[in-house]
Symmetry: C2
Subunit: 538 residues, 2 copies
């Protein structure tokens, strides 16, 4: 490869869903696109989130991070990123900026930013970046076109989008701009969203939901509760207006809905004014026709929806005259949590309405028909499925290979750098780094320590202290069946005997290890598993 | 209510899926139907399973347990049941008996049993019970008709079934017998399966899968791997025969497949002989055309499928020339585990085929059309949705209410006793008991203890011992971020100061409590959460 123009290195998001982060590299410069969080696999007990590892970034060349939109899997790692790279400028749109500011304030991180418009040109040392308006499930989402100054290469990068021809709130994805900017280039590549590739058809438009949503507002029940993804402020705005038109008082319950709505009020994405909504403390004792928005459509443990559904909310209790609407889908992995909520609401007698009953939810990602529309508008030379688990990337790859024989698709994963050269593409593999686990006050916790948590969670813990000079032993347990506590006297006797016989004169590490081994063995005989054991010795 | 004939009291399975157990009560006798296990909600760390509480049973009246079929949610609690009620006779069919014997042998529980035929009559003091052949996803599944001797009441109870008109291995559900036995009764009731009520159509027949399954056996790849629910031995038998016919060697990997196949060999449910299958130790180095059955279609942690997919199996490693077939569905809650397996296999280059790609899985539960067929055959006076989470029971209730205006449906949950009286039905609510948690060597673990595990899993643990006479303190931690260990010296200093100032002369409980409070507070300031803390004092 004689000339290398620029390269695209995915650090997160291409293998699993979440923690999206991509590095655009030229010889002289590094530009990061997005810095998101990943929600943990269930075995990482209570870990709040994971963020990408930043080891691949070169602080001396890194000038810029461009944010494509305000979802957590694109901005959730930003506070950690800016702590490590405080000099970097954040490029973002107004609405997303408002979300970022709220988040960074919490983390007490200050930062410099520039606001970009969807039809602007961002000029860097050897490439230009052109934001492109796309449709998604949150306002102000952009794709990016990256072009070399000499137009020898142009790449379209859209991690999240759909083609929405009937949205009430925004224009369709800007096909004209994509075609215009890329057809000037000698070689072109697409990097596109794989999330919804199992859908053979066209993703539903937000506009198609309005009629069913309206019919729900017109129901005779006084109280309609509704939950949806808080970031979908356009849909929330439409539902609120319909609720108001049906004579319902509007109530917002839950922090995340409040946050997104505040950003919407601030940046012109709401047709209603803040004072048209009741907040929970103002809603106590409210009667008559009302529409109550509940945060937490995924059944999150501390959410307003869960609290309400379990009868634990102090403002509203569910009852047989209530309707609860889920204008959302179940994200894989959350099924059990959400079904528990359905069950609880059913047991209180409430009526549940989901997207299986009415057309009240639309995905924000492209089905195969959406991708066909984009390919019809402009067909690139190379194609890279991104934003998806490996299985989805492969399905996306197969789809392109079968449908577009002139296009060359590649299957890439995190840490595989796509180098755009003269007439060719080269893939260079880098050592991959696992995402970092974040817990509590935004503190990193190491894998070894999470593994200790797992052991205590599944096998309990035993604490033993032994006082040599008085020959006294104390044993307490946590997380063992009560019958195991009844065995403590036997264990004491056994250990004291072993100490007297073999351990009394041995050095500390050996002593502790032997006591540990015997204790774990002792319990294993009764329980079938070995508790974590800690020994103190005096 | 003048005369009370008999009553039906669900103890498990009517509110959540699993731990099915129902009590048939007359004045003089108690008959239990099934005793299953429930798989835990994810928050019960590593708990193996839950079983129903037996407090509602009266040992002096309890003579019989009837097993409807051999799924774990119907027989998984039997060892615990028979330990508490060793005098009870188990009524079962041959195949199910073979499964039960294997299970009880492991638990070292002996028992007495009687084998029933699907067209027999089991006579008890005041009722007769008539097993009825039904279709399901495991051989030898029965519904039960319970009739008073004087035929004033007849109830059909089928917790799991579908209507399969095209199975190769068994006759369709015995509609004739249901109609005949119930139409002789004055009053009748149905207790029926709600699992698949969200399906508006007809459940697919096992026979309809054969053509797509056969086409997979004819693929050109040498190695076809296939996973399915181990209990579906009829399907396994068909697939094995097709594999053999395509010239493939047959391999069985995984304990649960082996167990069910052994029961099938023993009781005439396999057309192949045991020696036509290779076991893992015989399959090492096997080449050429083969069909490998893998246990663990739900992605279970210790299963053959997971081991293979992660490249950790010593006999077979996945590669680009392999096909892996999922003749199964994803049980809600297992999505993440199964998608990880899809991802791993994709990364090894293997081709994945699921029931979304071909017609290769059929549910064992009735869709609405199946229920219509049953209702068309015979329509009862009363109707009780069972076997399902509350949300599904309600959907089932709504369906019957809308479709059959002459039928009176009731929504019942666990511990609501249905009393069948002269002309009416009465529901009597009993105090409900939570299922019991079982872990390790089949030992019960209390909720309080599981809650300790949860706290250690999410907040770590600190172990402190203090030696008064020498004024020495030792502190160790488990499951805390490494930065928290760097803080131990600060914590020691702080605690020693507090002890010297306030605690040195206080009594033990107060001393320990104060040290705990300070420690948890100390870490909370840094981490944002409070570790479990244990204190020993000398």
């Amino acid at each position: 490869m004689k000339n290398k123009y620029f390269s695209v290195l995915p650090i997160g998001g291409v293998e699993e869903i979440g923690s999206n982060m991509t590095l655009i590299k030229t010889d002289s410069e590094q530009i990061v696109v997005d810095c998101g969080m990943l929600f943990p696999y269930e075995e990482c007990f209570d870990i709040n989130y994971l963020i990408p590892d930043f080891a691949a970034l070169d602080a001396s060349k890194l000038t810029t991070i461009i944010i494509t939109h305000g979802h957590e899997d694109h901005i959730g790692g930003l506070a950690h990123f800016l702590k490590e790279f405080p000099e970097v400028t954040v490029y973002t749109t107004k609405f997303t900026l408002s979300l970022i500011q709220r988040k960074l304030e919490e983390h007490k991180v200050s930062f410099q930013y520039k606001i970009y418009e969807p039809d602007s040109e961002l000029s860097f040392k050897s490439v230009n970046v052109y934001p492109v308006h796309v449709n998604h499930s949150i306002p102000e989402t952009s794709g990016l076109i990256i072009r070399t100054k000499d137009k020898s290469w142009g790449a379209l990068y859209i991690s999240d989008f759909k083609v929405d021809l009937n949205s009430k709130h925004e224009a369709p994805i800007d096909f004209r701009r994509i075609k215009q900017l890329l057809s000037e280039c000698k070689k072109t590549a697409y990097f596109l969203d794989s999330t919804n590739i199992l859908n053979d058809g066209k993703t539903t438009s937000e506009g198609e939901l309005l009629s069913d949503l309206r019919s729900l507002m017109d129901r005779e029940e006084d109280r309609v509760f509704i939950t949806l993804f808080a970031s979908n402020v356009h849909r929330m705005n439409e539902i609120a207006k319909m609720g108001k038109a049906s004579g319902r008082k509007l109530v917002i319950m839950g922090r995340s809905l409040k946050t997104y709505m505040e950003a919407a009020f601030e940046t012109g994405h709401s047709d209603l004014a803040p004072d048209e909504f009741y907040m929970p403390d103002q809603a106590k004792g409210l009667t008559g026709k009302m529409l109550v928005f509940l945060s937490g459509c995924q059944g999150d443990f501390l959410s307003a929806l869960r609290r309400f559904s379990f009868g634990e909310d102090s403002t509203f209790k569910p009852g047989p005259k209530d309707v609860v609407v889920f204008s959302s889908k179940v994200i894989p992995g959350n099924e059990k949590k959400i079904y528990r909520i359905y069950n609880k609401l059913t047991e209180f007698g409430a009526t549940i309405i989901t997207a299986s009953d009415h057309l009240i939810h639309a995905s924000g990602h492209p089905g195969k028909e959406d991708l066909h529309l984009l390919m019809k508008n402009f067909t690139p030379d190379f194609y890279f499925p991104i934003h998806g688990e490996s299985y989805f990337l492969k399905k996306h790859y197969d789809f392109i290979k079968e449908s577009y024989p002139t296009v060359r698709p590649y299957l890439i994963y995190n840490y595989q750098e796509v180098i755009l050269g003269d007439d060719a593409v080269k893939i260079e593999e880098h050592e991959s780094k696992e995402p970092r686990l974040i817990h509590g006050k935004a503190i990193e916790i190491e894998k070894t320590q999470v593994s200790q948590r797992r052991k205590m969670a599944t096998q309990g813990a035993v604490f033993i202290s032994y006082h040599k000079s008085i020959g006294h032993i104390e044993i307490t347990t946590l997380g063992l069946p009560l019958m195991a506590q009844d065995l403590i006297d036997n264990l004491k006797k056994k250990l004291l005997e072993q100490i007297r016989k073999d351990l009394v004169s041995r050095e500390e590490t050996y002593f502790k290890d032997q006591v540990k081994i015997s204790t774990r063995q002792f319990y294993n005989n009764f329980l079938g598993y070995k508790p974590m054991t800690e020994v103190h010795l005096y």
